[in-house]
Symmetry: C2
Subunit: 513 residues, 2 copies
C-alpha cells in the first residue's frame, strides 16, 4: 500500500488535472475518466475522505452481462459452434495474456491499443488483442502444421468506446481458422461458406460479404505509382472507404500521405470496382494491372475462389470489391468482410451502458472479417518455417446488440432458467415434504426449484413461476400426502390434475418436452 503522504500528493495533482480539463471544456468522457481516477485515489486513503468516494462501476469500456443477455449470448454461441462443428473443427484455448513480445510488431498502428500488465517482478505481459496472433504462436510453439480449429474467447483493446459505437474494450471473438498446406482457395472458400451459414442462421436480415486480395491491392498500388514504402499506409486510407466518401479519402492520400493527385485518381478508378468472377476475368485483361505479377496471382486465385463459392451455393451474397483493404498487417492473400445491410434500432440503454450507443438508428456495419495470413506463424518459428493459414473472425458483440434490441422490442419473454417444475405447498409446515419431493425430482434429472422459505404463500410461489416462466407446479398438501399423489398445475392454463407420486417424473418429462 502506498504511503499516505504520497497518495495525498497524488490527489492534489489529480485534482488539478480535473480542474484544468473542466476549464478547458474537455469532453464529458475525458473528465469522467479523470474524476474516477481522483475518486480511486481518495478511496486509497481508506479514512473518511475516501469513504464516500467509492466508485461502483465496471472498468471503462466493459460491461456486465445479465441473465437475459446471457440467454441470448448462449443462443448465438450455440448457432456458431454448431456451424463450426458441422465443418469438422476442433477447438483450443490459450491464456488471456501473452508475453508482451509475442504481440509486438503484429498489429501495425493498432499496437498502441494493447493492454499491458504491470511489471510486478516477472515476465512482461499483455492482454491478447485478437485470437489470431495467439493461434499462430500456438502453432509454432507446439509445432503443428495443420489443424482446423475454432476459438471463442474475449479479447482486449484500449479503444475509445464512446467514439466507436457499439464497441467495447473487452469483447468476444469467434474465430475459425484452417492451417496447413492445401490446394489453393479450397479452405478460403470454406471460410466464406461458414460466414454465409452463420449470418443466414442468425436471421439478421440482408448481408453482403466483400472479398479482395492483398496481392491485388499491392499490385494495384504498384501500377498506379504508389512508392513501395507507402503501400501499408495507403492501404489503411483505402480501408476508410466504407465510412468516408471517396473525396475525403483522396484528400487524406494527397494531403496527409503525400501522393500526387494523379496517382490518387488512378487508385480511385480501381477501388470503385465491384463484381464477381467476371470482374476478376476482366481485370486479368486490364493493360496496367496485368503488368503486375502479384495482381495476376491474386486475380487468378479470385477466379478460382468464385468457382468454389458457386459449388458452395453462396455467390448471391459475395462481392469482389476492390475497395476492401482491412487494417491488420499480417494478411498476405485473400481478405473478406461481412456487412449487414439493415440499420438496426438503437438499443434501449441499461444502467450498465454508461458509454454511448444511444443515438437512433445505428448502422451496424462489419460483423465478420478475415483473410489469409501465410507469414504469421513463420514470425514465431525459430527457423522461420511457414504454416499457411486462412481464417475468419465473427464480431459477436454487434450481433448480440442486434438480437438484444430485437428481444426488447418483441413481446416474447426471454427465459433465463430452464426449470421445469416448482415444488410448492398451500399449507404450512410442509418444508420437509417439499425438500423431499424436490430431491426425488433432482435425482431423476428433472430441473426443479423450491422456494427457500419455511412457509411461503401459494400466491408467491405461483408468482415466481409467472415471473421466471416455469411451466409446471407440483403442489403438496396434507391430503395429497395421504393419498400418495401430487397436484400438478399447468401455470399458463391453470389446469390441475392429481398425479400418483410414482408417475410424477414421467409426467413432468412428458409435459416439458
Amino acid at each position: 500500500m502506498a504511503d499516505k503522504a504520497q497518495v495525498q500528493e497524488a490527489i492534489k495533482t489529480q485534482g488539478e488535472v480535473v480542474r484544468k480539463l473542466k476549464s478547458e471544456k474537455a469532453s464529458k468522457e475525458q473528465i469522467d475518466e479523470e474524476v474516477a481516477k481522483l475518486l480511486q485515489l481518495k478511496a486509497q486513503l481508506g479514512g473518511d475522505e475516501g469513504k464516500h468516494a467509492f466508485v461502483l462501476k465496471t472498468a471503462k469500456g466493459t460491461r456486465d452481462y445479465n441473465p437475459k443477455q446471457m440467454a441470448i449470448r448462449e443462443k448465438v454461441f450455440n448457432i456458431i459452434i454448431s456451424c463450426f462443428k458441422r465443418h469438422g473443427a476442433e477447438t483450443i484455448d490459450t491464456p488471456v495474456f501473452e508475453l508482451k513480445e509475442t504481440l509486438t510488431g503484429k498489429y501495425g498502428e493498432d499496437s498502441k491499443l494493447i493492454y499491458d500488465l504491470k511489471d510486478q517482478g516477472g515476465e512482461l505481459l499483455s492482454l491478447r488483442y485478437d485470437l489470431t496472433v495467439p493461434f499462430a504462436r500456438y502453432l509454432a510453439m507446439h509445432k503443428i502444421t495443420n489443424i482446423k480449429r475454432y476459438h471463442i474467447a474475449k479479447v482486449y483493446r484500449r479503444d475509445n468506446p464512446a467514439m466507436t459505437r457499439g464497441r467495447y474494450r473487452e469483447f468476444y471473438q469467434c474465430d475459425f481458422d484452417i492451417a496447413g498446406q492445401y490446394d489453393a482457395m479450397i479452405p478460403d472458400a470454406e471460410c466464406l461458406k461458414i460466414v454465409y451459414e452463420i449470418l443466414s442462421e442468425l436471421d439478421l436480415g440482408e448481408f453482403r460479404i466483400k472479398v479482395n486480395d492483398r496481392r491485388i491491392l499491392d499490385g494495384m498500388f504498384a501500377v498506379c505509382g504508389v512508392p513501395d514504402e507507402k503501400f501499408r499506409t495507403i492501404c489503411s486510407t483505402v480501408d476508410k472507404l466504407d465510412k468516408m466518401a471517396w473525396e475525403d479519402v483522396k484528400k487524406e492520400m494527397v494531403n496527409e500521405k503525400g501522393l500526387s493527385e494523379e496517382i490518387a485518381d488512378r487508385i480511385g478508378e480501381y477501388v470503385s470496382m465491384q463484381g464477381g468472377k467476371d470482374l476478376a476475368e476482366r481485370l486479368l485483361q486490364d493493360p496496367k494491372l496485368s503488368q503486375s505479377k502479384q495482381a495476376c496471382a491474386g486475380l487468378t486465385d479470385m477466379k478460382q475462389l468464385f468457382s468454389y463459392l458457386e459449388l458452395f451455393q453462396v455467390t448471391d451474397k459475395v462481392v469482389f470489391d476492390l475497395s476492401l483493404a482491412r487494417g491488420l498487417d499480417y494478411y498476405t492473400g485473400v481478405i473478406y468482410e461481412a456487412v449487414l445491410s439493415q440499420t438496426v434500432p438503437a438499443p434501449v440503454s441499461t444502467p450498465t451502458e454508461q458509454n454511448g450507443a444511444d443515438e437512433a438508428g445505428v448502422s451496424v456495419g462489419s460483423v465478420a472479417g478475415g483473410g489469409r495470413y501465410d507469414g504469421l506463424v513463420g514470425m514465431f518459428d525459430p527457423k522461420g518455417r511457414k504454416v499457411p493459414c486462412v481464417g475468419v473472425s465473427m464480431g459477436i458483440e454487434r450481433i448480440f446488440s442486434i438480437l438484444e434490441t430485437k428481444a426488447e422490442l418483441s413481446s416474447e419473454k426471454v427465459r433465463t432458467t430452464e426449470t421445469q417444475v416448482l415444488v410448492a405447498s398451500a399449507q404450512k409446515n410442509l418444508l420437509e415434504e417439499r425438500l423431499k419431493l424436490t430431491t426425488e425430482l433432482w435425482n431423476a434429472g428433472i430441473k426443479a426449484e423450491v422456494l427457500y422459505k419455511k412457509n411461503p404463500k401459494l400466491l408467491s410461489q405461483l408468482q415466481h413461476c409467472e415471473e421466471t416462466g416455469i411451466p409446471l407446479v407440483a403442489i403438496l398438501g396434507e391430503q395429497e400426502l395421504k393419498d400418495g399423489v401430487v397436484k400438478l398445475r399447468n401455470v399458463a392454463s391453470r389446469e390441475e390434475v392429481d398425479v400418483p407420486r410414482a408417475d410424477l417424473v414421467d409426467e413432468v418429462k412428458k409435459r416439458t418436452l
Copy 2:
C-alpha cells in the same frame, strides 16, 4: 518503445541478476524466469542481438488447451452446467478486470497475489482474483437483492505454480451462489447438494465434504482465550491442518503467532473433532463452548443444516469438521470444502506443462469450496445495505487433470471433432463433385468434411477418418455419379453399400445417431 541505451543498460543489470542467482544455486524455476526476462529485454533491441532470443512460450503459470483437453473440458462443463440448471440457476458474466479498489481489502493476506494492469493513463485496474467479489460488486451495482446464478470463468492469481502442484496462475472457477434473504440453512444445504451431485456425476472416486462455521470457529477461539485481534491470523494457521500435522500447527501458533501453549492445546482439542448432527448437539452442551453466543448460533444452524442434508440424501459424504477454517476474509457463517480421497497418478507431461506436477502420485485435495458471506455486498453498497449470500466454487483445474490422466491411461480414444462423414473419391478430377456433395450435406445439417486437395489418395482420406474417428465415408466415383448413388463406407467394419444420392442424408443420420 524504450530508448536503446536504456534497454542495453537494463540488459546489463539483468545479466548480473542471472549470474548472481546461478552462483547462489537458486531454483531452476527462479533462474528460468530471470533468464526469460533477460531474453525479452534483448528482443526489445530488435537487431541481431535480439533476433535469436525470441522466447516461444506462454506466460509463467499458464497453459494452452489442446483439442483433446478441450474435449474433456467440454464434458466436465456440460455436467456442471446441467447440474446448475437442474437447480434453477441463471448465469451472468462480468469483465475479466475490475477497478483495483473493487478488489482491495477483500482477500486478506492473499491480496499480494492480485495481477494489476499497467497504468496506461486511465483507471487503475486488476484482473479478477475470484468470481465472488465481482458477483458482490454486480449485486450492489445493479441493486439486485435476490438471484440464484452460476458463473464459469477464468480467474488470476500470481501464485507460485511450481510450489503448489497442479495449480495455475490462470484457472477456471465454476461458481454457484444464492443471494437473498431466506430462511436459515436452506440455500446453504442446496449448495452442498450441488457439490455432492457434481462430484458423484464426474466419477472421481470417493470424496468427503467438510463443513464448519466461522461463528463456531470464532466462538471456539474466544472460549479458548485467543485475543480478538488474533482470530483471523489463527484461523489461517488452523487452515493448514489439512497439510500439516497438529504439532507443526501448534508450533506456528505459539512461536509465530504468540499464543500460549495452554491456549493452543485447548484449540487442539476442539479442532480434532469430527462428526455429524450428533457432534453439533454434543457441542451445544459443551460447558465452555456453550458460553459463546456466536458458537451456539453456529451450532444450532449446523444441526438445522444436517437435517436438510438428510432430506437431500447427502449425509453419507458430509462431515462436520472443526478443523476446517478456509483462508478468505469474507466468510461469515457456514463454510465447506470438498476433498477427493484418492491419490491420482501423475499426469504425463506435455510440452506445454513446463512447470512442475511431474512427481508420482499427487494428492489432489480440495476440489470445491465455499460458504456464507453475508457482509460482502454491503461493502459495495453506498448505503451499506446487506444482501445475504451463500455459494460454492468448483476447482475445475484439478478435476481436469484427473480426467486427462484417466483419458491418457485408458485405451479409449478421445474424439476432438463430431464429424459424421468424410466426402471422398478414389479417382482424380472429382474435387468439384466432392464439394457439391459436401455442400448438400452441410445444408442438410450433417457434419461433414472434405480434404482440401484436388486429387487426394483414397488411402490418405481413409487414414484421416481413422485418425480423427470419423465413422463414415461417402465415396464418389465416375460410376457412382452415373448411377446417381454414393458408396457409403463404414470405417470400422469396412463394409460398403451403395446409397441413392437422395437418401444419403437420412442414411448418414440413421447410422450416426
